[in-house]
Symmetry: C2
C-alpha cells in the first residue's frame, strides 16, 4: 500500500495536525495553511528526489547570499510576485497606491532637511523632486517622515558600489514642513538590472527573464495616526515600465520628470539649468480604530516566537 | 481600484506569465506551479507586512544556519512533512518502503567490509545488524552498495560532536556478498532531538512541538538495474514511534532489536554477550525501461540551470 492516496494524505494530515497545540492562533493559521498549500504544490508537480534536492540547494544558496547589505530572499519574493501581492493585499484604498519595499532598504537613510541634495557625487544632471503629503481628506500632514532612496544615473545603489559611492548616497530621511511639503535635489535614477550575481539571477537566466526594473525613487511615508506607506514614483519615460522584473508598476505611480530650462527657477532651487523636475502628491490613509491594537498584537507575536 | 480582485489576480497572472519563455518545459511547470500555489497561500492567509518580513528573516536565518555539516533547509522540509511527502510520491511500490534522507548525510561514509564495526568509540553495548538485499522477485543482489549512518547511544551523529566522536563514527559504506548479505557491528542508536539551536528549533518551540525522532539506522541502497532506496530501520521499543518530528515512521520499517544472551553467538560475531541483534531484509525495485532516460534528462536539466 505504498504510494496510495491514503498514505499520501496521512502525511499531510499529520503535518497539519502537528501544529494543533500552537498557542498563538494566528501563527497556527499561518503554519497549517503553509503546510496545506506546500503539500498541494508537491502533490501537483510531483518533484523527483533530484528536483527536491535542487530546491533545497537553491534555497540554501539564497540564504547564504544574504549579508547586511544584500537581501536575496526579498529579491526571490520580488521576482515571484509575492512581495507585490502582499503589498497590494494590505492596501485599504483611499490613499496613494503602495508598491514593493525591494532589497535595498538595508541601511539607515541620513537625516536631511528640505532643500538638501541626496546626490553626494555631484556629477549628474540635476533634478528637483517635490513631495506633498496629505491625509485621505486632503488635509496636509506636517512633520510626516519621508524616507527616500534611489539609485544613480548608472543604476547602482550606494551599497552596491562601496568603493565608488559614499554610503548614504541617494538616500535621505526628511520631514514635511507646516504645509506637508518637502523637496530635495538629486539626479534622475536609471532603470537597472536587479542583482544577477546570485541564485535569483541564475533563476532569471534559466527562465529567459530579463532582470530590469524601470527607473524609480523609493518612498516610505509615516505620519502620526496614519498607516505607513511604502511606494515608488516611476520615471514616465523609462524603459521596462511594461515588464518590471518585480511586477511593481502601477499606473498611478508613473510620474513625469520634464526638463526645465529656466535659469531663474534653477537659481531658486540651487541647481543649474536645464534641470529635471518631478512633483508627487502622497496621500496616506488614517489608521482605523482597531488597527493600533492589531499592530501591537503582531509585535507581541513576533516577540513570543 | 486598489486591492480589487482584478488587481490582485493581475499580479498572479503576470508572475505566472513571466516564466512563459522558459526553454525547459519541466522547469516552466515547476515554477509556474510554484507561483500559483504560493500566491494561493498568500491570498488565503493575507499576511501583514510584518508577517511577510518575519518570513523573509526566518528563511534567511535558515539559509545562514547551513554549513558543510549542517543542513537547516532539509530540516525545515522535514518538520513540515514535505520531505516525507516527496519520498512517498516517488515510491513505485513492490519494494521496501522509503523514508526521509534527513540532514545528517553530509559526509562520505568510510568504506567497510561485512563484519566491520562502525562504532569507533567502543564504549557502548554491542549490537549486530544483518541485512539482506534482494530484488522485488526475491533474487539476492550481490555487490549492492549499502550506505549506513546512525547516531550514538547518546543520540548524536559524529558531525554534531566533532570534539567527542571521530568523523565517520556510526557510518559505513558496505557491499553485499554473493548472497546479497552483509552484517556489521554497532551500538543501538538512541531516540534524539533534531537540532534545536537554529530557526527550525525556534519554530518547534513556538508551536509547542517536541523535536524528537524515534531511534533509527539510515540506509541508502543502490544495486545495478534497480531504483536507489533511501530508508531507515526504526528500533521497535523506541519512544516517539507515534510522533516522529519529521513524520518518517512507516510500520513496515519498525524492526525488533532483541537482546541475545548467547556466548557462542557472541564469539561468532566478535562481540560480548549479552548483545542486541537486528535483521532486516531490503527489497529494491527494478528500474523500469523509461527510467534511465528520465534520470538523464533530470541531470541535464540540472546542468542547464
Amino acid at each position: 500500500m505504498t504510494n496510495s492516496d491514503e498514505a499520501v494524505q496521512a502525511i499531510t494530515d499529520a503535518a497539519v495536525d502537528s501544529f494543533r497545540d500552537t498557542a498563538d492562533p494566528r501563527l497556527r493559521e499561518l503554519l497549517q495553511g503553509l503546510v496545506r498549500h506546500l503539500h498541494g504544490y508537491v502533490k501537483e508537480v510531483r518533484p523527483t528526489l533530484e528536483e527536491w534536492e535542487y530546491a533545497v540547494e537553491f534555497l540554501t544558496a539564497v540564504g547564504q547570499k544574504c549579508d547586511p547589505t544584500r537581501q536575496e530572499f526579498i529579491l526571490l519574493s520580488d521576482v515571484l510576485g509575492v512581495s507585490m501581492l502582499v503589498e497590494t493585499l494590505n492596501e485599504q484604498g483611499g490613499g496613494t497606491e503602495s508598491t514593493v519595499l525591494g532589497p535595498f532598504h538595508v541601511v539607515e537613510s541620513p537625516e536631511r532637511v528640505s532643500g538638501d541634495s541626496i546626490d553626494l557625487m555631484g556629477v549628474g544632471k540635476p533634478c528637483v523632486v517635490s513631495v506633498r503629503v496629505t491625509s485621505a481628506d486632503g488635509t496636509p500632514l506636517p512633520g510626516a517622515s519621508v524616507d527616500v532612496w534611489q539609485c544613480t544615473e548608472e543604476g547602482f545603489y550606494d551599497v552596491q558600489q562601496p568603493d565608488v559611492q559614499p554610503l548614504g548616497n541617494g538616500r535621505g530621511l526628511f520631514r514635511t514642513d507646516g504645509e506637508g511639503r518637502l523637496w530635495f535635489r538629486t539626479v534622475v535614477p536609471s532603470h537597472y538590472p536587479i542583482p544577477t550575481d546570485g541564485p535569483v539571477g541564475e533563476l532569471l537566466g534559466a527562465t529567459s527573464r530579463h532582470p530590469y526594473r524601470p527607473a524609480h525613487v523609493h518612498f516610505i511615508v509615516e505620519a502620526e495616526g496614519h498607516r505607513p506607506l511604502t511606494t515608488h514614483i516611476f520615471v514616465a519615460d523609462s524603459p521596462y515600465l511594461d515588464s518590471d522584473a518585480v511586477f511593481a508598476v502601477k499606473d498611478s505611480l508613473v510620474v513625469g520628470f520634464p526638463e526645465v530650462d529656466d535659469a531663474e527657477a534653477a537659481r531658486e532651487y540651487g541647481v543649474t539649468a536645464p534641470f529635471r523636475r518631478a512633483d508627487f502628491d502622497i496621500v496616506v490613509e488614517p489608521e482605523t480604530e482597531t488597527e493600533p491594537a492589531n499592530h501591537n498584537q503582531n509585535e507581541n507575536e513576533k516577540d513570543a516566537r
